[in-house]
Amino acid sequence: MTVHDNDRANDAPGRGLSDLHRSHLDFDTADKTYLDTNELVINMGPQHPATHGVLRVILKLDGEKVLGTECVIGYLHRGVEKIAENRTYAMFNPYVDRMDYVAAVSNGLGYCEAVEKLMNVEAPPRAKYVRVILTELNRIASHQLWLGTHALDIGAMTPLFYTFRDREEILKIFEKYCGARLTTHSFRIGGCQFETYAGFEKDVKNFLAFFAPKIDEYETLLTGNRIWIERTKNVGVISGADCIALGVTGPVLRASGVKWDLRKAQPYAAYSAFDFEIPTGKNGDTFDRYMVRVIEMRQSMRIIEQAVNGIPEGPIMARVPKVIKPPVGEIYHSIEAPKGELGYFIVSDGSTQPYRVRIRPPSFVNLQALDLMVRGMLVADVVAVIGTLDIVLGEVDR
């Protein structure tokens, strides 16, 4: 690393995007500077308590200060996109649950809607409402898991147990609906396979009543906490322009002040029928991202409440042929998953199997911003930023 590079790393707040295109880790020259013994290259991960799975981050440190990072991914690569080419459309559906296993319902929704679009089929209104309810419940569950692990990374142990206790109630609803808790596979191409069970509405309403005070409880532990504020304010700052340039989406983008949410921008499922707000932040720091996600949980509750009260009667499944054979063509459909824009690009050659499926996972794209966000910060901030990006390695590596 040259002197020039060191200077660049020092002016942390005013970094431009041009820095991103620089090769940031130059190990050969680092070994040759015998007089400069300050630099330390350490591997954070793939086995590390705070990398949320098997992410490996190579850190170049000057004492505690981060001079540069490099993410090494692929430890959880299962070739999901390739598998898609060898399965029928319906057979591939359960595989997408295994990408972002924290928000399996969202993954299924995106895939089913993409194939429906390709086939020119539309799910019946009732199915759309059930999809919205389950997806938003899953968004809450995903944010709960994020909140718990993020707080644990910053050193607060207790929120983890509170969020897991409450997430359990959501998983119970999933279990009663489709039998699975984590990889739900609850949607089918053309609607939902199952009609809602008796008492579904009541369970969901009970959950809403149960959960409202719980969010306040999380906030009592963290929002006003002096140490929490010090650890999150002005940590991992990223501007809206940088977010857009990097393709960062979801709460990270919104916390930087860009009001972009696909549920509003390109309404899918039944979202156009509901009244809800898109929270945005100002500073684009870790605290704003925390607040955005907490408010999103409340907004999700609003959506669920409207959906469960206005759920229409009717069939739950559209008329879909037994053998799904979409016409020749290609489609890109994206939804607002809890972590950002989840897109499916499907090319059909008219056969029963997709010719190509390309998935745009939000975690993978958001992870790019890590280096920009942590350069010039301290080791402890790397952990905070990995947490705040809310990555799931199953989705990053696919």
């Binding site: 050193g155 301290l378 952990v383």
Partner: protein
Amino acid sequence: MPDFITSYLDHTVTVSPGAAGSQFWALIYVLIIFAGVSVAVICMNWIERKALAHFQVRLGPMRVGPHGLLQPIADAIKLLLKEDIIPAEADQFVFWIAPLIGLLAAFTVYTVIPFGPSQAVSDMNIGILFMLGVSSLGVLGIVVAGWASNSHYPLIGALRSSAQMVSYEVAMGLAVISAILMTSLKDGTGTLSMIGIVQAQNEQGVWFIFKFFPLGLIAFAIFAVAMVAETNRAPFDLAEAESELTAGFHTEYSGLRWSLFMLAEYTAMIAVSSIAVTLWLGGWMHPFPNLLHARAWEFLFSLVPGLTFGGLAAIAYIGAQRMPPQSFFKIQRIGLVVFAAVLGFIALLLLVVAAVAGLLPQSSAAAQHTTGFRDGIDNVYWFVLKVAVFMYMFIWYRATWPRYRFDQLMRVGWKVMLPISLGVLVLTAIVGVYFS
């Protein structure tokens, strides 16, 4: 019996064995304290796991023994039997010696901690200075462990630990000095002796935490924060920050040596809590010793230890009754009842001692002989109770707060605590000289 044994057994002796020149009894006291502190660490281990679990809406250890009471023993056996691993690249000798340094430093502090006017190993006239010096050595064990591991995470942890010590030791020392200043108020000559500090609080009729309100309170608060930092506990557990440095300075340690680090950490926690109790909370004295010192009050206060053990026995017994009825839990229920019986027996003994010393005529031989014994029990009891409150606070902090960042910790140490403690010191001196 030889003279060196009997010389200190006289019930009229009211000084520590060190002060009385009885080396034999000093040694016995050292052994008692070593065993007592080790048992306290084991209890603390269980209490921390249980209390932390209940903070976090879970049960904690429940399987090994009733309510997991035998869990610490199972843990200890596991750690002792584990394979002894020294990394190939580590500096073997230093790697070996590091946990011992920390442990030795933590235990040596106890030589000057007064559990009572005569319940101390020795009454060193530079007691508090000795304590500050020795307890600071504990960080050497951590630094050396991090260096000897020859690995990156431990190295960073060790460096953090040393920076932390430098940042907090100064503020801690100044807070201690302001307490020492207060000891000189009565006759113009202060004392560094730990026993002398408690006696000064007795003579002035006030715990130093309430002296020159709020100066004493602020000094105490600074010490209370600094002692958490000194012992590397949450929210200042940067040296072993689990989510950042995997396990910090003891990443490469396992088995016995790792457990020595844990033992040292908890021992140091008890030690610094003892110092806070001695300096600000009246040491071994029961509440309001200057007002409530009539014989009737002494009798009432002497019932408290027995009643405490009785209460614990009752809780254990109720717990046994509430055990699920399945036969699987039968052995656990029996175990808990036996535990309750042991606690109840101790309670009974304590109450008998209190009754003999407090209810028999003061002139009777039995009362005279037991009074000294009873006072000793009372002193130790009140001291341990106050320390226990601090130990609970340590658990509470850990459950509540996120971890400070390295630079924030140093900023708090240098820019907040140091100026405040300096100001408190100066103000204490001014108030002491001109307004009292």
